[in-house]
Structures are given as structure tokens and as C-alpha cells.
């Protein structure tokens, strides 16, 4: 028997895999942003504009890729998935909102 190994470039092979990588990547950006918020909060140091962009790209990218993954990608009759999409929209709206709130609090 011939053992098939996972291709090193597997994540480029299907749109769903690329979206998954985007979701995870932007999720990491968001986590980084939260760490920065805590750091600047504790040390009372100002944000660098690049950090703010990082947080915004993270929050938006993560929300949109979740939404795309659970609503637009799978066949429409998968209603259970659409519930995940609505949940993602809800959490995403909360994330983006809290991003702006946090940023506002620190800038002002």
C-alpha cells in the first residue's frame, strides 16, 4: 500500500483551507492586541498607530472569515451552520465594538 502524506502546501489547495488560515491568523492578531491593551494599561504607555491597525485588522478579519466560513461557504440548506454564522456576527460585532471602545478609552 502507498501511504499518502499530507501535502506541505495543503492550506492552498481549497478555498476553505485558506479561509481557515485567515481566520486563525487574524485570531492571533486579535489576541496580540488584547495583550497590548493589557500591557499599555498596566504600564500607562501610549499605543503606536500600527498596534491599533493590528487590532482592527484582527477583529474585522476574524469576524468576516467566521461569517464567510459559516454562512457563505457551505451549501445553503445547512441551517445549523447558519446559526453559527449568526453567532459569529454577534460575537464579531461585540469584538469590533469593544475594539473601538478600548481604543477610545486609551486615546482619550
Amino acid at each position: 500500500m502507498y501511504k499518502q502524506d499530507r501535502d506541505f502546501w495543503w492550506f492552498t489547495k481549497r478555498p476553505g483551507y485558506m479561509l481557515y488560515m485567515l481566520r486563525e491568523g487574524t485570531g492571533i492578531l486579535m489576541l496580540l492586541y488584547i495583550v497590548e491593551v493589557i500591557y499599555h494599561g498596566l504600564t500607562k504607555t501610549p499605543f503606536h498607530p500600527a498596534e491599533l491597525w493590528l487590532g482592527l485588522i484582527g477583529a474585522l478579519g476574524h469576524t468576516l472569515s467566521w461569517l464567510w466560513l459559516s454562512v457563505l461557504m457551505p451549501p445553503l440548506e445547512l441551517k445549523l451552520w447558519q446559526k453559527t454564522g449568526i453567532f459569529a456576527l454577534f460575537i464579531g460585532a461585540w469584538l469590533v465594538l469593544s475594539y473601538f471602545l478600548l481604543t477610545y478609552v486609551y486615546i482619550s
Binding site: 499518502q4 492550506f11 481549497r14 476553505g16 445547512l78
Partner: protein, 241 residues
Amino acid sequence: MATTRKKILVQRYVEGMEKPELQEFELEATAEMTVLDALNAIKDTQDGSLTFRWSCRMALCGSCSAVVNGKPVLMCETSLKKLPDTVRVEPLRNFPIIKDLVVDIDDAFEKMRSVNPYLDRMEARVENKHLQSPAQRKRIAQSSQCIKCMICYSACPVYKVGENFMGPAAGALAYRYIAESRNKKKRRQLNAATGKKGVWGCSFVGECSTACPKRVDPAMALQRLKVMGALNLPKRLLDKE
């Protein structure tokens, strides 16, 4: 009858070869031909040694799955007409190849068996619990559609690397029995599905549900099992069994 010329690239492998190779065939395809029809025509007229599984030819038995132009599908429901002039047919990914397009799916079946996918019928019969309302049936309708085609295992990038991950269809199967109103011993399935060799390897890539030809939605079944497993953890820890 109008025909179009198609180039069919089929991945070939027999025991003893160092690695699989693509072989090119040319074919006059009619408008109603599926990929499976094309392979059968090649086998009948060009190369009798070409090996692949099939049976029902109507997307019911789950035997004819393969990767066509990069996407795992049932060959009997994939129309040639909708594909470009060059069609590439490869075996399902993630499984060892036995010959040409035939792969060894024992591991996935073993994982399905491990979730105890059955009811204790004797007990149900004694208590006359076979009855099920339409609403109760509806809860398991979607996850009962699985035809064990293994397309979801081929689509899943985690199954191959995480040896302890049960895989999508086994998750859907476990969910089907846990959501089953006549099942009085759900703990058996729940413990199996949420144990060490259960759902936890899943990172919700979601491609299994996108690829499933029967719209089973194994990804959602796995996420629901994760929640059930987390809620069941205290009980499980206290369980002396």
C-alpha cells in the same frame, strides 16, 4: 449524439511502484456522462486494468468517491459537462492507496465502530420504546443521511495528522445516536466521542461539511459534541467505570 473531447488524467498505482503516477486518456464524452461513466468507458475500451470502486451509480452507496480536479466528490454524481477539458482524477486523500483509485478505509470504519453506533434494542423492545414522533425523528434526520463515502475524511486536514481524532463522519454518527430519542444509554456514545480519541482534534476547518455530498454537516455535529463533552466532564471524572 454531440460529443466533446476530454483529456482524463487518472492517478495510477500498483504495489511495487515507488510512487503513484498520472496516466493520460482521451475520450469522446457525451453530454450526460459522469466522471464514473468516463472511467468505465476507459476501462471497457482502453485499459481494463484501471481500478476503482463503484456500485449504485446514483449517489447512494458511497463507493465511488475520489478527488476530481482537487475536490473530493462522488464520481457518479459529477457531470463531465461541468468540468474543464482536462479532468484529473485521484484517490481520496489521507488514506493509504491499495491500487489506482482504491484506498484502504479501514481506519475510518474502525473509528466509526468505536462510538458504539447502535441502540440497545432488547431493552427498547421490552419497554416498547421503538416509537418516535416526527419531531424526534427530525432531530436525527440530517445526521442519518451519511452513506460512509469518506469524502469528509479526505477533505479534513486534521484527520491525517492527529491520530487521536475520530474524524468527521464518526462524529456525525455519534451525534446521531446521542440525539436519538430511543437511546437510553447515550453515555456510551458520549464517552467514546468525547474521550481521548474523540472530537478534540477538530479545529473547525469546516471543509467536511462543505464537501459532504449528503449535507450531513459533520462539522456542526463535532462542535455540538465538544459542548456536550465539556458539560459531561465533571460526571466523567467522577465516574468509576
